[in-house]
């Protein structure tokens, strides 16, 4: 379902401040195109163009009711972007934590070059060193689990 091009479409659609403003308002409630356009400092055709891009990215769905088009947010479509942020943040946090353990474990015994006076707690490589956050899920990059960002309860 999620492929590279849909991810790109999501990122591109999210890249514009006006479109983010539209999404933020739709996040609060469903709106008609007219309601949406009223407070925005742009023409109706310009708003329609943004809406089309959001629709193509799957971020917004429309339904017709009489003569008006009602727009609503499709939150599911944001998941790939959230997933990218979550996975890459976890990757760097885990890797830099491991780098810290590696540096600690490999510092020279004659530590004149190292200003810290903290003793090395356990000899050996960083692989043997305990992880500082034991409760943490093992989700370095690339995530193999369905890791979700905070607040996402699915």
């Amino acid at each position: 379902m999620v492929n590279s091009s849909s991810l790109d479409a999501t990122f591109s659609a999210l890249s514009d401040p006006s479109r983010r403003a539209i999404l933020a308002r739709l996040a609060r409630s469903e709106q008609t195109v007219g309601e949406l356009a009223r407070p925005l400092p742009m023409s109706l055709p310009a708003v329609s163009k943004h809406i089309r891009i959001l629709e193509n990215a799957g971020l917004v769905a429309t339904r017709k009711e009489g003569r008006s088009r009602h727009l609503r947010l499709v939150p599911r479509a944001l998941a790939p972007a959230q997933d990218w942020i979550a996975r890459h943040t976890a990757f760097w946090e885990d890797s830099l934590d491991a780098l810290g353990r590696y540096l600690h474990a490999t510092r020279p015994p004659d530590s004149e070059a190292f200003l810290s006076t903290r003793p090395v707690k356990s000899p050996g490589t960083s692989r043997d060193a305990p992880r500082p956050r034991a409760a943490r899920k093992n989700v370095p990059f690339p995530s193999t689990s369905n890791r979700r960002t905070k607040g996402d309860s699915r």
Binding site: D16, P17, F114, F141, P142
Partner: protein
């Protein structure tokens, strides 16, 4: 097209001089000891690493039994201060998400070293411009909605 997603920032301070931190960050024999998964059974392998502007790197590994690869090209190599490189990743179950850009800055602070990693989703320079605050507020709002709606 303007900026894409806001870049990720991760910062750590290490109790080691900058030269040592930079070396650990770029030494092919050290990289497998910290980059990627570090649980028993996880592996990280440096397949290629040409630390110079325009040079390529390829890292491969497994995590929880699943294979992954990261590769890219160094755009800036300022020993021992800064690295800028492109980043393409792929792994079992995760299709590639396009080229992104990693900037690593090494700052010496009182004999310690602060490492700041900036990972921009888009490898073009425009991705690094700063609509960031407005973006993250918007994204937070959206994330809340996503969470609420999923509970429904």
């Amino acid at each position: 097209m303007t900026d894409k997603l806001p870049p990720i920032h991760v910062t750590r301070t290490f109790e080691a001089p900058r030269d040592a931190v930079f070396r650990a960050f770029t030494d092919p024999s050290a990289i497998p000891l910290w980059l990627g998964g570090q649980r028993p059974g996880d592996t990280t392998r440096v397949v290629e690493l040409d630390l110079q502007k325009g040079g390529r790197y390829v890292f491969q590994g497994t995590i929880q039994g699943k294979a992954w690869e990261i590769h890219g090209t160094y755009r800036e190599v300022a020993i021992p201060e800064k690295l800028v490189y492109t980043w393409m990743d792929s792994s079992d179950g995760h299709p590639p998400s396009g080229e992104s850009l990693v900037t690593v800055e090494f700052r010496e602070i009182g004999g310690h070293t602060e490492v700041k990693v900036t990972h921009a989703n888009d490898a073009t320079d425009s991705a690094r411009r700063s609509h960031e605050k407005g973006w993250s507020e918007c994204f937070d709002a959206l994330a809340r909605v996503v969470a609420e709606r999923r509970q429904e």
